[in-house]
Symmetry: C2
Subunit: 125 residues, 2 copies
DNA sequence: CTTGACTCTCCCCTTAAGGGGAGGCTTTAG
DNA sequence: CTAAAGCCTCCCCTTAAGGGGAGAGTCAAG
């Protein structure tokens, strides 16, 4: 099938597919003349990419995996990818919590200042 | 003082200051000829912007506040800004937790699949 | 044979917060 | 007076994931 049909089948867009190819996510895409031709397996790969995106992966994270082994055939790779992602996500959440704590501390300082003087212009800067 | 000295005093850069001005964060900046001239109060404003960034605010969030009232003189505005930010941060954290849960569920599905067949190529796509 | 639907490549646009640098004034110190 | 340092505006570059569209080629049906 051609790119438009593949896009419809995978629930993505023509532009996105071309983009994935340009990033090396699809490996070598076969052609008939100048037209890209996709197999059912390609469509499955496109769906997998969509899944991965929904799980919060970025395309660059997938590119590495594509180059190392066959993702569709080897779930252990996907499993590993998820574990890596989970680690990063945990770090990100910790960072947000730290930020929230800073925010709270700052708010409290302001509150204390305002308590003493409603128009305080403090050393908070 | 000129822009370079102001940048040094506020712990930022010349480029950044010009950028803030272009975003309307500094209000009208006075000039001597073509050179920008900054007061001590401007430097304090620059420091405040830096603080706000460290707290996770984006410049666009500050722009609104700048246009509504004098941030340096009115801490209630800053307080309000922080509360808004906290709300958004809480939502962001919740989103990350949801994402983590999805990730876990997907990982578990893969684990179950691999348990039955080490080379499983499942309906997980 | 022509029209309309698809496809091709190529280029610019989007957010955030500036960084790098070109080319050209201005100011200050020696 | 001259040279260095500092300043000016203007333009392009960066990340991520494509979107929009131009201009041109291709394919099937009527």
């Amino acid at each position: 099938m051609y790119i438009g049909q593949a896009a419809k089948a995978a629930g993505t867009t023509v532009k996105a597919i071309r983009h994935y190819e340009s990033l090396g996510l699809l490996g070598p895409v076969s052609r008939q003349g100048s037209y890209r031709v996709f197999s059912q397996r390609d469509v499955e790969l496109l769906r997998l990419i969509k899944q991965a995106q929904a799980l919060g992966f970025r395309l660059s994270e997938l590119t590495e995996a594509m180059n190392s082994t066959d993702v569709v055939a080897n779930w252990r790779t996907v499993r590993q990818l998820i574990d890596n992602k989970r680690t990063r996500l945990a770090r990100e959440m910790a960072a947000l919590e730290t930020q929230m704590a800073h925010l709270d501390a700052y708010a409290e300082r302001i509150d204390r200042c305002l308590e003493q003087d409603p128009d305080c212009v403090g050393p908070l800067i």
